[in-house]
Symmetry: D2
Subunit: 322 residues, 4 copies
């Protein structure tokens, strides 16, 4: 999957030596053909590395700067571009255009931001998709404040980032998993309350009880349609649910009385803007909050990395060393 060195950067472009990537569920869907993508597409949306050369007029970056890629290079700031879903992904690396499973890439400056100072390349690479999604859900859409309670589902990348972020902002975390071992890991990472959703299928009511009957202020909904009713049950009146994943499928029952009684605020979202990423990087730098890494593979082992992802045995990001 390696390419010959591209031509030098044109005005407004940078040449980047990629050093790391990381696996997201979105990459898995593309790699396994469950989401159709361009033929012979270079996969991987997350990318991090070092600037080798800058084109004319580039002021934001210098040679030697550590950078990370941007999920939606055309969404600079403000509201999301008002385009159909298919068009939104046309310029997403590893989806509509070639991604970062390679050594060298030339792109416009808006396809990158500075990486957090002090982070390794593999650490920075994990932030592009999972980190930014957690940041947008809690900070941008959720307006998280210290003392709020956050419900997190499972041990995927977004939930782990959200756990670290919530704790760094003084929130209380209720974490769920079906694995006793993973619950222990969540506790070690700072989770205040634990629920095993296998042994307690009414985990929504359990979460509400754990908050003294108050209900949680924020839910990061990873399961999607099938778990939303439990998330609603867990919430306080006027709580916020960030709709991020749809692991349980793309359809389910809309229980309107439950939602109405809770006067829920639900935000459906996909990753975030470049400006949000700049804010997240500042947070990471200030707090030196390091992503949880599980296992590293070489670029040549990418297929093995996806098989490992498939097992679900990991807790933390699976990363690629390029």
């Amino acid at each position: 999957m390696d390419l010959a060195e591209p031509d030098g950067p044109k005005p407004g472009e940078v040449l980047v030596r990629l050093r790391a990537s990381s696996l997201n569920y979105h990459d898995y869907l593309i790699a396994t053909g469950r989401v159709s993508a361009r033929d012979r597409l270079i996969p991987m949306t997350d990318g991090a590395g070092e600037v080798l050369a800058v084109g004319e007029g580039v002021k934001e970056f210098r040679v030697g700067d550590k950078v990370m890629s941007v999920f939606f290079p055309d969404w600079i700031e403000g509201a999301p571009p008002n385009v159909p879903l298919s068009q939104a992904f046309e310029r997403v690396p590893g989806d509509g255009v070639d991604g970062y499973a390679r050594e060298l890439v030339v792109g416009p400056t808006n396809a990158f931001t500075h990486a957090p100072r002090g982070f390794s390349d593999v650490e920075s690479a994990t932030l592009v998709c999972a980190g930014l999604t957690a940041w947008r859900a809690l900070v941008v859409e959720g307006h998280l404040k210290a003392g709020d309670t956050v419900l997190l589902q499972g041990t995927g990348g977004v939930s782990l980032f959200a756990l670290q972020l919530a704790k760094a902002m003084g929130a209380t975390v209720v974490a769920t998993s079906s694995s006793v071992e993973k619950l222990e890991r969540l506790k070690a990472l700072g989770a205040d309350h634990l629920i095993n959703y296998r042994s307690d299928p009414n985990w929504g009511a359990a979460a509400q009880a754990l908050t003294g009957g108050r209900g949680v202020d924020h839910v990061l909904e990873i399961g999607g349609a099938a778990t939303l009713p439990q998330s609603a049950a867990a919430s306080r009146v006027g709580g916020h649910v960030a709709m991020i994943g749809q692991l349980s499928g793309q359809d389910g029952s809309l229980q309107t009385m439950l939602m109405m009684g809770k006067q829920l605020r639900i935000s459906w979202m996909m990753v975030g803007s470049r400006a949000m990423q700049l804010d997240m990087v500042r947070f990471m730098e200030a707090n030196q909050t390091r992503p949880v890494l599980d296992r590293s593979f070489a670029l040549s082992e990418l297929a093995w990395a996806f098989r490992y992802q498939e097992t679900g045995a990991h807790l933390g990001k699976i990363v690629i060393d390029i």
Copy 2:
């Protein structure tokens, strides 16, 4: 249903001579036993009239003031009280406690606000439930601004108020109905674009097309579960849907890919706070926006009024002259 005159108002209370009420779907559900209520409950949530006497320490009202009732007397301002749905309605007049189908009532000051100056009692009565719901949906949760586009469903009380409010704030309105005659009335009331959802079942796409492909900024969802997918189709990316009604039933299909692609923001809501009502009254006074009235009944004809409501022939509020 008439009562003997209550004792004079105690400290912090007012004695009100009710002069008008109006019918909402909520009253209909209670009157027809579809929602259980206390036995021998005095019905009607909307009430308006005149202050006959004030108790010790009352500063907000004077004898002779025109007043209107408050849906949630205990929700003064700020976020909605964090209580279960059943408890939220325990103090709602015409639901958990006696309502306003009577001539005299004594209650605490927070059960009333001033009515808009210059409004008749029947006009003021119509604002309590339907007016405030429209206000909260567009102004409080929707942050409506001039130039935004609003999609309204049908010709119920909330939709008509929302139409008047949206036009008073410089918005563009897309209105739907299944009746050619009612669409004409909506046009006369200021609707900019009309859709007959019977002849055009894909009215979501039609609404988007009417906005030049941009999509609407706000939807007031009256149908509920069954119409939400069309509302999502009508919306721009990042649009706001205020979930108000559930005429189509309490469950439906949650089409997560559609919602995700539109990055929708959905707010489930029930009426609003007393502080929101004070803001709405100021709006009504400043603009002298008069509610659309359909037909008036005497208090003794209340049962007939509900039968008339049942026919669905009305456009505008059905009011009770007490």
Copy 3:
């Protein structure tokens, strides 16, 4: 000041035939040398006209489109660029770079937006600076809602736009002037309450009294340092003051007890972003709110136009027909 036709537009650029400009106080300061500018600068920040040609890759505009210029071409959306004041104006047409007192210009697409459909070129030209400032002050920073009360000072361009905008959004307007004739004009334009600040130097208290003692929700502060104490006196507790002008000079007394007692929210602002302009254009189109024009001059009469502006006799925008 006329130029030979520039070369055709490069990729991402448009060639515009300018048809109109309008005068702002900012242009006056530059034209009279009170603010230093580049030597032999082509003046005028406001510009409107028609697209003659589009460069490669331009999708937002087509030949024949009516367009208007953008005050800060580099401020696309989101928060204002975090740069020193001098740098912020380096790219402002008619200030740091050549402006629109000419017939033809080639520029990047972000230097223009579509003009409101149905507007003449002179009408569109007036929106660039004064219109957008009023829009940002009331809608973006002020979150204006129907029923709010707005205090406006004098009859400059920003105040007149704000008057029209406030009325289009259902607000109540208190307007001030030192001229009886101008007050009559303000009344005809929709102002609800009038104050002659010459005959009533305590116009802050007068404004509060006109609102029944409640105080105004919003002030557009044009006078600056010397009038701010009156604006504070006019405000309700928690009111918003948009700091826009400094006609009374660049320094004054900071009366902290007055500000503290009112718990004022003060926003200092300079015009707005391109995204805000797009929203304003949608508002103008939806409401066909036409700017108030005073008098038109030919491009060759520009010096006379500034002398006329100097007299202060105008009410409404002074425009240039190119």
Copy 4:
């Protein structure tokens, strides 16, 4: 100053055994007659203790509950009451009505909230005025998020709470003092950057330089009129300044060009609402963030406590053990 035990609590009231108070600058101004107060007023606004008895209908508190007092008992939630400054303080304990320099008090439930679980009485007492002011400035008005930079002035109670709160929410703190020793203490408490404003009178520029030229996102302005220009210089474009104190006097120079260039957002504020206090208590419980205490006095030593406060030697709250 001790009183005989009051009568038992009436409906809606609680009887509280006060155990602690703490000193604020506001108390000092009253105690020393610099702010006029009612004759023979019982001083002290901060109070904390234990519920001895509850009146009929009281549900929020039980006998034995640890409670703390509320600064504005009539400001339950939402926007601040729209009343003149003098009237706002009519019901403030230790200012318009008797305060908490006593053993027993009976008051309405809204005059108290639960104290944070696990806090001692003296710790809880310090939150009423200084803690809530810091909370409102950063969280409510400032919308602080992780990674933001906060500038704090000096070592007063509000600044110390703000330091702890900012760090608990993942922010970066720039702290100022004129004392080398106090700067060391601020560092030990978590301050990231230190400025000695005596040796560096242009501390605004110094603060901006410490943030890599970016400027700070938030300032808690304690000095008031005389320090505001430095605070503006320290800020990024679009930054937020919370106006809290006026130690440098009640008037100063309003440098409009500086404010305009920074497009500053300034919020003048006085403490906060009871609802904000409930949120702050949740934060304190979740994080067990303990106030910094300096020295404790017995109630009988209150005069000595004020003299000690006068010296300015303290760092942390001076508390009264009742």
